[in-house]
Structures are given as structure tokens and as C-alpha cells.
Amino acid sequence: MKYAYYPGCSLRGTGRAYEESLLAAFRLLDVEVEEIDDWNCCGATTYMSVDELTSYALASRNLALAERDHSEIIAPCAACYLVLNKTQHYIRDYPDIKLVVNRALDTIGLKYRDKVKVRHPLDVLLNDVGPEAIAAKVKVPLNGLKIAPYYGCQIVRPYSTFDDQGDPTSMERLLEACGAKTVRYPLKTTCCGGSQKGTLPEVGLDLIHYLLSEAQKNGAEVITTVCPLCQFNLESFQKEAGERHRQTAVPVLYFSQLLALALGAPADTIGLQRGFVPIRPVFAKKEIAYA
């Protein structure tokens, strides 16, 4: 089966490494994806918070476009994943929203039939590919690299059904299949501050600090994320957080970067150079012989 692929705006900006590494991993695992033709902004949480109806209409255009050729959409960005899912729920639950959306789509010759399923790459990798299949294809074992997976909020809450909302483990299972060790720490689904870091910068710092320090306290050498905004928040403000609380730097990667690396993708093709905290010394320490 070929999945529809919805990158969303962030994966073309701050989250480029996410897209680069995820697509590389998909290629190496024979997961076929096809980018949705002429997709548009999902409506994102910011839009949703001020003008919901419009955001549903925007999201539904992507759903309707995907539905023409596909039965499942992969949406890697947490915000996009949430918005697309929420749109589906609301169109089902509220007739008014359905009416607005249907009319709007009608004006551009599209129709939404509620036939497409929105899925996160973690879900696809875990349930469609499977950790065993991944383990079998690992070329560069991660040699017990200690990883603190950070899930953040929006891929586990409120709509995700593929993992536990309080204690998700899908990233652990995938990364352990690649030979890494994962560390248990209490904050893996606690909010990083989200877009507040951009609008009310002071607020997010404490949150970021607790996250980083708890992960490190439990032995993490690397933190992995599934969301461009989380990744950005966790790695960009380590210095500021450090000034406040005394803190050592820790690399923050997308889980897909480590996955692709383990599957044998060359390091320079999966956006490793785009991180602010250098990762190569960590790999060197762990004697990870990446390509």
C-alpha cells in the first residue's frame, strides 16, 4: 500500500531534518509514500485557536485531496497530526461544521467522504512495519546509546489511539529495535511550552529545563522527539535554561534521524548537520560506526 504523505509547513522549515531522515528511513524500509498533491497549511493550532471553522476547511482540503488516491495519510508533524484528526472528529460530530466544510470544498470541486485515516509515522513504523522487521534491517546498531524519547503532547493526546496517553512506548520499541537503550523519566509527555516559547518566551524556560534535566538525570545521552516544535524548543534554549538552572547541553534529534542512521543512511543525508548541539561526539563515544 502506498501512503499519502503530508509534510506540513514546519518540515520545510525548522523541521527539515525530520523530513529528510523520515523519508530516508521509509525508503530503506520499503514504505512507499506519495506527497499529497498541492497540499496546504493544515490550519495548525494557532489558527485553530482563533478561527476554528477556517482551520477545519483548510484541513479538510488536504484530507479530500489525499482521499482521491489514498486510504491513509502519514502526518509526521504533531500539530498537523492533531489538526487533521480533530477535523475528522469534528466533521463527524458537529453537523454545522460538516456543512461549512462540504460547501467550501464544493466551491473547489472537492468532496470529503471520511474515508481516509490519519496516522503518525510512529504508528506506521510500529504496527505496519514492526520492530522485528526493523531490527532485521539494522546495519548500524546504536550500541546501547541512551536515549530519552520525548513525545510531547499532541501525538498522544487527545486523539491518538495507537499508544498509551500517559505512558507511550512506541518510540522506545522502535529505538530499542535499533540497538539503543531508552531511559525512563517522568516527563516524556509533559508539554515543552509549545508555541508559547515564541509568544511568551519566559514561560517556556522552566518547562524546558525540567525536561532536559530529568532526562539527563536518568542517564540520557540524546533526546529524541517527534515534533518540529518540541525539537526546536528543546535544543534552541538550552543555553538560556542553563543560565537559569545550571545545565549541560544534550543533543536533541528526531527519532527518525537515529532510525535512518541505524538502517544505514549516510549521516549527511539525514540532517544531522542541522542540529545545534553536536551529535557526532556522542556517536564517537559510543563507537557507532555510521555511514
Partner: protein, 669 residues
Amino acid sequence: MPEISQLSGPEAVRVGFYVCHCGTNIAGTVDVKALAGYAASLPRVAVSREYKYMCSDPGQALIEQDIADHKLNRVVVASCSPLLHEATFRRALGRAGLNPFLLQMVNIREHVSWVHLDKKAATEKAQDLVRAAVQRVALHKPLQKRRVDINPSVLVVGGGIAGIHAALTLAEAGKQVYLVEREPTIGGHMAMFDKTFPTLDCAACILTPKMTAVGSHPNIKLWTYSEVVKVDGYVGNYKAQVKHKPRYVIDDLCIGCQECIAACVYKEGKTPDEFNLGLSMRKPIYLPFPQAVPQKVVIDRDTCIEFKSGKCKKTCVEACGDRLAIDFKQKETFDEIEIGAIILATGFKTFAPERNPYCGYGRYPNVYTSLEVERLINASGPTAGEVILRDGKKPASVGIIHCIGSRDANTNRWCSKVCCMYSLKLAHLIKEHTGAEVFNFYIDMRTPGKGYEEFYDRLLDEGVHFVRGRVAEVSDWAVHPSEEGKLVIRAEDTLAGFVRRIPVDMVVLSVGLEPQSDAQDVRRLFNISCASEGWFLERHPKLAPVSTFTEGVYIAGACQGPKDIPDSVAQAGAAAAEALALIDAKSVELEPYTASILEEECSGCKSCISLCPYQAIAFIEEKKKAYINEVLCKGCGTCVAGCPSGSIKQNFFEDEEIFEEIEGVLAYA
């Protein structure tokens, strides 16, 4: 009684119609005047009236008077559900000399006025239902209830405090009681407690005398380590099969000396002790607790070396000596009993806090459930009554978190009713035993009961902290130096209006009460219903709280819903009294809704025979016809619907009666 045969032609039918206002319960939504007027316009209706409360004495008298004055021979009452007052109005007909089954009730309260808002639509619906009833009742025939004798013995299932009390009450009244308990001892949850609220009297002191009384009562047959596996029959005449699990110790020979336990090849216990919730270890041969009734040891075949390898030295057998009570070859056995009534007192289970990962149970060793703390506090418990943590230290601060698995849409929606009070009790006992600072995190403090609020007041006086807020998280990560090495409880102090983090050494989770995990199997076995949560369903929440929809089966204690000890005992007494009332009537009337074969018309096709789950239908070879044994028939009507030539009829639910009803509701203008 008037001769009904003379009423055979439809012209002779005279219907009296009565609509009840039920105060404003019905009249508020259904236009009762219009309804009475409408009924009066229907064919065969001789009298049509509306009245404030039809079920009241004057209401019933009205019907009786009309039957005499207007020569009524059919009655339709539009009021509440027939399950509530059909019997009432049938008796009224009986008093007026009319066969009670010439009545039809129309449910315009539960099915109309209470569920609709639009008065016009509700009134129309009521009219349709009334028209159907008037059409149907014309076809009603006089019926006689069947009377059957009642077996005077009673089966009590479950040997917790409710089952014990019910069994003793019945036994004292001279009835034969079978008490079946699936654990090796009776006593239930109450036996695990240390003190009981609010009086703080010792649970063992008040429970063990009752347990012993059960064990020795001549009228009680006590079967522990046993389960009811099959139930047949009907009110007054139930048959049950009881399975006795092998304890590998012969009941009659074991004298409870426990020498075998001391002699076991295991010098120390290696198996988590169920009674102490795994806080201590027991051997493969054990007595659940010192006051267990019966005082008979039991062998756990999963951990006993003899069962695992067959190569044990069997020092237990040696120790038992001439008594020869140990029998590794014991098999399960069965008993068949006949009883007239059944009391279910199967109790509850406590909420498993793993289901709520935020409270840290299973992740942090110093997070305990309330039941575990009961055992810690209990003098005969694993720590001999000392409240100490797993590392042996005494806690200096303790957080008691209420409503774990209660009042939560994500787990159980109900209030477990007993947790506030037992949390107060534990707070008091922990403070008494350790002197620790104790914090109670509660949502609402619920202390309705004699002496309960006073107990709360006492706790406030003792200096226990009360933080009103549902705990969001128990964790071990520190934000503040004072939190290092502690469990941190995070909750909004809703009375203060901000979020607090409170570090403690020990967390006690006040777990809620849940239906037993096999409640659904048990209720199927006894043919009763469960409420959606899984609690056994009573016949009426107020007026028949210990009866069920299956005649002769009663419920007592926490199997019906969360209950504390006084409530469980009261209910057990009530259930015993209901059972006594049934038995002492010596016989009981059964509804006459049975089916019968029209012998002339039956073609003997045998299609019906296998449709009956009660083997009530037999094929009579000589006549080549089917025959229904009325005593065995329970009146479901499945065979009636399945007879391809229409040759079975069911009393009160004859085809033509139902067709009239269907066409009646649809025959609107």
C-alpha cells in the same frame, strides 16, 4: 365472579379506562383530560376517568366501584410501568370479582411523560398506546396463576460479612442453609481490616465470633473452597450444583493443629501471601490467617514440590501422622442441592491502581493501596502492626489520596462511598502509629452516617491536613531541594486556588470498590441482571433493594454496590428476611404466561421441541403430537413464535392479542 364465557362476543366487552396523573409526573407532560376524552370515544369503552393517583386506595376503589356500577369486564390503566403497579391493579380487579388478567396497563410515565418534552407529541403517543391497550384487552381471557410448593432451604453464596450475617439469620430461624465460599476461609474483606470506622472497634473482635458461629451452626452447611457451577429451576424449587475444589487436605480429618505447616520442607514461605496482599510470604501448605474458619489447612498445588516434581519428602504427611488428613490425590467433587431461595453476597474487589499510572503505584515502592495499609496496621499483619516502609523506615509524612478509581470517567464513574471514611480511619491510625504528618487529598468529604461527621471532626482536631483537590501526579522528580528523595504529590489546592507540590515519604491510595471480575458470569449463572457498571441489579432501587428480577434470588452486601459494614449487614438481614418471607409462605404463585399446544391442530412436526431451553416440550408418541409441561414452561414464548402452523398459544401473549396491540398503536387517523 361473572361468567366470562358470556362475554365471548365483542359486543359484550365493557372496558373501563383510567388515566393516572401521578401528581404532575404524568399530567405535567401528557394532557390527561384529553387522553381520558379520547379513550371515551373508543369502541367498547364504557367508562373513562382521570384521577390524581390511581395507585392510591381511593384510586383503586374507583375501579372497583366502576366494575360493579358499570358492569365492566375489562380494565385499562394508563399510569406507570406495569412492572411497578400491574400487581396492584390486578388485585383491585380481583377484589371486584373480575379475573385479574382482564387488565391491561399502559406505561405512560416511564415510556412517555418522563422521556418526552413536547406535550403534544407525548399526548399523541399516549393515545396510540391507549388505543392499542383497549383493542388488546378485549381479547384477554381469564387466567389462573399456578401455585407451587417451596423448598425451605436457602443457598447463600459468598462468606464475607454479608453472607455470614444472612446465613446466621436464616439458620437461627431454623432453616437449612448452604453457605458456599470460594476461598479456603470465610471472612471476606472485613477479616483483613484492623479497625472499623467510626467507632474504631477491632474488626477481628467483632467478626470472628460470627465466623465461628457459622462454622459450628447445626443448620449451616459450610462449604469453603467451593463454587456454585450450575443453577436450574425456579422460585421455591431451585437446584444447584456445587463444586468443591481439592484442598488436598481431608476436611473431616484435619484438626487445624498446623503441625504440617511447621514441618513443610520449605523453612520459609516463598509465595506471596494472598491474605497479606503479597506483603509477606507463605508456604505451599498454609492456613490463610490464624482465625480462619474452617481451621483447615490447604495445599497450593502450584507451589508444592510434591505436585511439581513428585519427589518431596512429604514432611507434612509425616507431621500429620495418624490423622492421615493430607491427600495428594484428592479430586474435585460435586454436590447437588435443592433450595427454595438464593442469597448472593459475592462482594466486591478493590480498584487496581496500576490502571491510573499517574499515582505511581507499581513504579514507586512507597506507594501503597489502602488495603495494603490495613494489613500493615493490623497487629496480625506482615509487620505485626508497625507502619513501616519497604526499607523498614518509619514514614515522617504520608499522603492519602482519595478517589483512586472512583468519580472518574476514565476509570469508574461512581463514588465508592466508603473511601472517605476509611481514609479518615487510616489517617488516624497512621498518625497514631507513626506520628507522621498526614495529608488527605480529597475532592469532596463524604461522611453521611451515624457518628461519621463527628469522626471527621476528630481528625481535624488531630491536626491531619486536608487538601481539597484531585491529585494530578505522584512522582519522584524534584523541583525544590526539599523534594529530593521524596515522593512529590502535585495537586491544585482548590480552596487556596493554586497548585501545590507536597513531598511525602509514603503515599496511600484510597482505592475504590469495583464489581468482582466474574460478576457477569455469576449473574448469568443465577439469571439476574447487572447495572451497567457490573453491580448486581436490584428489583427496585428504593422499594426492593435486595430483590432481583428473578423471583427467589436476593442480593446482599457490596455485590449490589459499594457499601460499608453496617449497610452490608443491614442488607444481609433484609435479604434473609425476604427469603424467610418467601419460604414461610410454603407455596408461591407463578405467572400464568405459559404456552400450550393446541392438540387438535398440532401436526407433530417437532419444530418446537428443541426451541425450549427448559425441556418443557415433549413429543407424545401415541398421539404424534407435541405437549408442553406447564410446570417446566417459563413462558418466554419462543416456541410460539417458532411454530410454523400457529398451533402453540401463550397465555396473555396470544398472537391475536399482540396483533391487536400492533394494529392499535398504528391505527391513528
